[in-house]
């Protein structure tokens, strides 16, 4: 009996520690920081395309839209508001809609997914929003595809927007899709030009097709800029284990491994794990490229912002804002099929001033070629 009690106690303790492991440790940044300017000496660069004479400006201006009657619901993916990345980008779009269109703050609701939850939980979340009168409802992340298909059919008069996935057969679901590979291509070019040792790295959160699009574009871009460049690649967790998007310590380990191998610019597409990647870069005095949001300006990673050369912008904020705007104007057809470089749905950030005019010219050159279709960016590695 004694033995058994001890065993039970051991199991209980083991179990509790498994549970508490879900709570993340917070890393403190520190150590030296060096900033890197200009192009590296070791890389042999391909001749970059010339920048176009005209730069396309975004068509953000326009008539004022009144959205004060809207009740907007957002269902975030794992991480929720505060991940400094994907979900925060969606949150920024909502915030902008609140200020611009007169949506009342109390008429918005934001719910967030838990890792490892089942489909029923996602359905319940969407159903809660729909039955409480929220319209439109935006699902942030492809994980909502199946549940939204079901719930959208139950509430045919509610408009749904879905980031990162299409739902076939549901007329009231608007897909908000991105060309992540195009923005990542430019991130690859930036990495190549910022690297001193012609050796860069990529850390993905979870090895799923969506993140592989980032990887494919990044590799292609880096190789296009510097054909002989060495590229490290690491995914924090394999497909099916979504903790890779919110495990900063593991992100730090992954980045550290690449830095130890010689990489000196790391591009991360790892959600909230990205904080750890920035910490690793800061500790080793190398550079990093952020993802989704303009991470240089993110408060949650402010202590490591001096290593962030640029961020690949996936303008979920623009998509969310435009979608809410289109709903308010009752003009959903005006939304682009894919938010790509052409419509500034993806792009790169210049905050922090590490992208000089020369590099910016090169980037605009590549960007123009992608928009014109002279460069086709692969979306699979």
């Amino acid at each position: 009996m004694r033995r058994r009690m001890r065993g039970v106690a051991v199991a209980a303790i083991a179990l509790t520690s498994v549970m508490t492991m879900a709570a993340c440790a917070k890393d403190s940044g520190g150590g030296s920081n060096t900033s890197n300017n200009g192009s590296g000496a070791a890389c042999e660069y391909a001749t970059p395309p010339t920048a176009p004479a005209t730069s396309n400006t975004s068509a953000a201006a326009g008539d004022k839209v009144d959205g004060s009657a809207l009740k907007v619901g957002l269902a975030y993916d794992i991480g929720g508001r505060g991940d400094a990345s994907f979900n925060d980008s969606a949150a920024a779009g909502l915030d902008k809609a609140i200020t611009d269109m007169g949506i009342k703050k109390e008429n918005t609701r934001e719910l967030s997914a838990a890792p490892n939850e089942d489909e029923a939980a996602k359905q319940t979340r969407l159903r809660q929003l729909a039955s409480e009168g929220f319209n439109p409802i935006i699902g942030v992340g492809f994980a909502y595809a199946e549940s939204m298909k079901l719930v959208a059919a139950e509430f045919p008069n509610v408009k749904f927007g879905l980031v990162d996935s299409a739902v076939d057969g549901a007329t009231n679901v608007t897909p908000l899709l991105f060309a992540e590979q195009e923005g990542s291509f430019l991130a690859g070019v930036i990495a190549a030009y910022q690297s001193k040792k012609c050796h860069v790295g990529f850390v993905g959160g979870v090895e799923i097709p969506l993140i592989q699009k980032f990887e494919a574009g990044y590799f292609q871009g880096a190789k296009a800029a510097a054909p002989k460049i060495e590229i490290e690649k690491k995914y924090i967790t394999p497909a099916g284990d979504f903790t890779g998007f919110q495990d900063a310590p593991k992100g730090q380990e992954a980045a550290k491994g690449q830095i130890d191998k010689g990489a000196d610019v790391i591009y991360q597409a790892a959600g909230a794990s990205g904080k750890g990647i920035f910490s690793a870069a800061k500790q080793a005095g190398v550079l990093a490229i952020g993802v989704d949001s303009d991470q240089y300006n993110q408060a949650t990673v402010a202590d490591t912002k001096d290593v962030i050369v640029s961020s690949m912008l996936k303008r979920v904020d623009v998509a969310v804002y435009d979608y809410i705007r289109a709903v308010a104007k009752n003009d959903l057809a005006s939304l682009p099929k894919v938010f790509d470089l052409k419509v500034n749905g993806v792009g790169y950030a210049t905050s922090g001033g590490k992208i000089d005019a020369k590099l910016q010219g090169i980037l605009e050159g590549y960007k123009a070629q992608i928009i014109e279709g002279k460069i086709t960016v692969k979306d699979k590695p």
Binding site: G7, A120, S131, A143, E146, S165, G240
Partner: protein, 357 residues
């Protein structure tokens, strides 16, 4: 009656204690605990939550049974998590690639799931029997391998197919589905629930009415005494581990046969770990486990209401953790109190009251 009190009092105390603890946590974080608990209770009546709770109870029940079989024998099968993942992906691949008449198709998928779960559990079992490798360590490591293996199997160049940004195994044709009981807007109850109930009954019969169950419990109480009584310890370890793995292999099937019809990136993870907690909570008793599974499912599903009233949902995780810890502590406290009471009673009958209590 003291026996029944000894069984029911600890979990009741534990639940009250953990509710108090969470209440304190809520007050500290600035929320009203009564409105939070109220939101959880009213959530049960909304939408499909009640059916979701019942479905989830069935799934947790199977998971806890798988763990309990090991526990009976003092085997800690932490690997249920990995066993059901591997079993689910194998069952999905097989189910999606064969064509059979309805009924038989479903049955084949179930059998494949059980076999795959047992096969995955066989590795730590054989390691323990032949090399004495501690099953706690080996099954935890097998969990890591299971994630890798399932990720490999659903790759686009192996068995997976791309659907939007998701990858999944080919969909199981309708002949392989298991029909449920539909409540319209209230959701659909999985037909697999009846399998879960049958497993519970089977578990009780096996434990209490068969020679194998007796030997299992005897080995759990005292391995040396059991082997002195002619029980082959190695065989018992092997068989109970395989049984545990086979049942674990069924955990993913209610959702797969009743709703998803595929194994995709959205596959529900973490049920195996919950199963350990529920088996502890239910003291390996089929009835107790059912109660524990129901409690767990209630907390899980109605916890979704908390975000709506502005309370962090993580409070549910705190509650689940504190329930498990306090159940273990409460059983020990009650056991000692009853032991002391027994000693006093014996002392009184022998007429030596007044000594040490």
């Amino acid at each position: 009656m003291g026996n029944l009190r000894g069984k029911l009092l600890p979990p009741a105390l534990a639940i009250v204690f953990s509710m108090l603890l969470c209440g304190v946590a809520l007050v500290i974080s600035g929320a009203n605990p009564f409105s939070a608990f109220g939101a959880m209770v009213t959530q049960v009546g909304k939408g499909s939550t009640l059916v979701d709770i019942i479905n989830s109870t069935g799934i947790y029940y199977i998971a806890a049974l798988a763990v309990a079989i090991g526990f009976q024998m003092n085997l800690f099968n932490i690997g249920v998590e990995g066993q059901y993942r591997v079993a689910a992906v194998v069952a999905a691949v097989v189910g999606g690639s064969i064509a059979l008449p309805p009924g038989i198709h479903t049955l084949v998928i179930i059998v494949v799931g059980a076999l795959a779960g047992a096969a995955w559990a066989a590795i730590p079992a054989i390691l323990k029997v032949t090399r004495g490798v501690n099953e706690v360590i080996s099954t935890i490591m097998m969990n890591g391998l299971a994630i890798g293996l399932s990720a490999y199997l659903i790759r686009r160049d192996v068995f997976g197919e791309l659907r939007g940004n998701n990858i999944r195994t080919p969909e199981i044709p309708e002949s392989g589905w298991m029909p449920g009981i539909s409540f319209g807007g209230g959701g659909t109850m999985f037909g697999f629930l009846f399998v879960a109930i049958a497993l519970g009954v089977g578990y009780w019969i096996m434990m209490n009415r068969t020679r194998f169950g007796f030997e299992l419990r005897a080995s759990g109480e005292s391995a040396t005494a059991a082997s002195a009584g002619g029980v082959n310890a190695k065989k018992m370890i092997l068989v109970s581990m395989l049984l545990s793995g086979a049942i674990a292999g069924l955990i993913g099937l209610p959702e797969m046969l009743g709703r998803d019809h595929t194994f995709s990136l959205n596959f529900t993870a973490g049920i195996g770990f919950s199963g350990i907690a529920i088996a502890l909570l239910g003291r390996n008793h089929p009835g107790g486990i059912a109660f524990g599974a129901l409690l767990w499912a209630f907390l899980d599903k109605s916890g979704l209401a908390l975000d709506n009233v502005g309370v962090p949902r993580e409070i549910v995780t705190i509650m689940q953790g504190s329930i498990v810890l306090s159940v273990v502590v409460a059983y020990e406290v009650v056991r000692r109190v009853e032991l002391a009471a027994e000693q006093r009673r014996v002392g009184r009958e022998l007429g030596t009251v007044g000594g040490a209590a």
